[in-house]
């Protein structure tokens, strides 16, 4: 009996320690963002909002935030439309060829970011897409497509194949069946896919470092340059804002589910 409880206690305590290791480092940005010093440190003589003021009054930081939001929404739209159509087509066919197509569509998950970025750079130069919004949205859409197609396909796993067949035999065309029978069933997957796509784009950095110069400044690029040049607590303020928004959205999502 003693041995049993030791094993359980070990696993459970271990798990909470590991979760603390996952969570706590992400929270250190919060006190650092409130420091009264102009360098990375804990608050010493009191709390200060100066680094938040810095962020919210800096045209550069705000513009970069807007750019990332804009590109992220564009990517979510493009990737969700393309990826949903793709997954629905594959679901109807469900044969060897469509499985190969699905493997092709998920290659961006497996290819190292630097390798694909070199590819983007050379091809985007040829197409004149370097340092353009179109270029970034296109690149990010490619990176987001695997996630959309996987989550839509997963949602369709619950759809009984006889339902679209019934619609067809009652005289509905392929398009009507897709729009009024399959798409509604795919909706949860589409929603999840769109959110994934937005986040993939919003967080993407390696590709942006290769295919943009000065014209397109995204938020991750500003953070990256900030870390490289001089680490100032403004980055901690930005990180805190993003973390808090994420936590709030997760809490809202969890509440709506329950």
């Amino acid at each position: 009996m003693h041995n049993r409880s030791f094993f359980r206690i070990f696993m459970q305590t271990g798990a909470w320690l590991i979760l603390a290791f996952l969570l706590l480092p992400m929270l250190v940005v919060i006190p650092v963002s409130l420091t009264d010093k102009s360098y990375i440190s804990l608050p010493q003589d009191g709390l200060s909002m100066q680094h938040y003021t810095n962020y919210f009054t800096s045209a550069e930081w705000l513009w970069a935030t807007g750019t990332s939001l804009f590109i992220g929404v564009g990517v979510a739209l493009c990737a969700t439309v393309l990826g949903t159509a793709f997954a629905i087509g594959c679901w109807f066919l469900s044969d060897r060829m469509s499985t190969i197509a699905r493997w092709i569509l998920i290659t961006p998950i497996l290819v190292p970011p630097v390798v694909q970025s070199l590819g983007f750079y050379r091809f985007w130069v040829q197409l004149g897409l370097i340092d353009t919004y179109t270029g970034v949205i296109l690149a990010h859409t490619l990176l987001a497509l695997p996630y959309v197609s996987i989550s839509v396909f997963a949602a369709l796993a619950n759809l009984d194949r006889r339902i679209p067949q019934a619609a067809r035999s009652l005289g509905a065309s392929v398009w009507t069946t897709v729009i009024s029978v399959v798409v509604p069933a795919a909706k949860p997957g589409m929603m999840a896919g769109a959110i994934f796509a937005f986040i993939v784009s919003f967080d993407e950095i390696v590709g942006v470092l290769f295919i943009t110069v000065r014209n397109v400044q995204t938020l991750p690029k500003m953070i990256w340059q900030g870390i490289q040049d001089n680490i100032d607590p403004t980055i901690a303020a930005v990180a805190t804002v993003l973390t808090v928004i994420t936590l709030v959205l997760m809490a809202v999502g969890a509440l709506r589910k329950s």
């Binding site: 594959c90 569509l105 590819g119 050379r122 897709v178």
Partner: protein
């Protein structure tokens, strides 16, 4: 083959085609171009690939890459297994909170998580500050710009990727085998090690493959926490391109990294259900 059936198939392909065409033209084709550049610049031939046998820095970089990826994978598997086990077996309270904490890092960018580690481990970072404040050390310890710093941040970033496949696998395991073993007199450890653990192997192997493959090509965290001293191959490639404009070398290394990744995946195919690991993961 009735004409009606044929046109339906065509319509399904019309749905597939836009995404597939975009992927092939703007993603696969540029990758093929990379292969082309590696055998044509600066001059046609396999001269770039000869560097793999000749250049010590390149060999060292590959060794570092595989070593960091392997160590990261081992730590992620052990830690990820304990968390998953606690979620499905040991805990009664707080399971929902545990799952939420595992998923949370996915929503916070790797860049910000790496920044947090810089704040903690830097020369005048919070850990050094605290240790000096307590009088435990006189001079700051070097906690980053070395392999230790890269590894701790890599494990932090990769851990959720290890937990998810293991959790998905454990979810489907019936406890009754373990209970039967216990009822027949096996100790808790024996029941775990001989009955439960073998059933979780598929999840562990998918997790290992996923974490190892992602670690091999990882750039952001090693670049930020390695400070140029832990040159994994992705960072080595960017140096070749951005500092020295050596496209031949950079693309050759890219192709080599891609082939190495492919070999790892194909070798793993014997033990891991690749469809499950990549195509159908949730």
């Amino acid at each position: 083959m009735t004409p009606g059936l044929l046109t339906d198939r065509h319509r399904y392909w019309l749905l597939i085609l836009p995404a597939l065409a975009v992927m092939i033209i703007f993603y696969i084709w540029p990758l093929v171009n990379i292969l082309g550049i590696s055998v044509t610049e600066p001059e046609p031939g396999l001269g770039n690939y000869a560097l793999l046998a000749e250049s010590r820095p390149i060999q060292t970089s590959f060794i570092i890459t595989f070593r960091v990826a392997a160590i990261t994978t081992v730590f992620c598997l052990v830690l990820g297994y304990i968390v998953s086990y606690a979620i499905y077996n040991a805990s009664k309270r707080g399971v929902g909170l545990m799952v939420a904490l595992v998923l949370l890092p996915f929503w916070i960018s790797v860049l910000i998580r790496s920044f947090s580690w810089i704040v903690l481990l830097g020369r005048s970072g919070l850990v050094n500050d605290a240790l000096m404040g307590m009088g435990l050390i006189d001079r700051p310890l070097r906690l980053m710009h070395n392999e230790f710093g890269v590894l701790i941040a890599m494990v932090h970033v990769m851990l959720p990727f290890a937990v998810l496949p293991i959790m998905a696998n454990m979810k489907g395991i019936d406890r009754s085998f373990v209970n039967a073993a216990r009822g027949l007199g096996a100790s808790e450890w024996t029941a775990f090690w001989q009955v439960y653990f073998p059933q979780t192997k598929p999840g562990v192997l998918s997790a290992a493959l996923l974490v190892f493959v992602l670690s091999l090509g990882f750039y952001i965290t090693p670049a930020l926490l390695g400070g140029g001293r832990v040159l994994m191959i992705s960072e080595y490639i960017t140096y070749q391109i951005q500092e020295f404009l050596k496209w031949g070398t950079g693309t050759m290394l890219s192709v080599t990294l891609l082939v190495a990744t492919g070999v790892v995946i194909l070798a793993a195919a014997r033990f891991v259900n690749l469809r499950r690991a990549f195509l159908e993961r949730g």
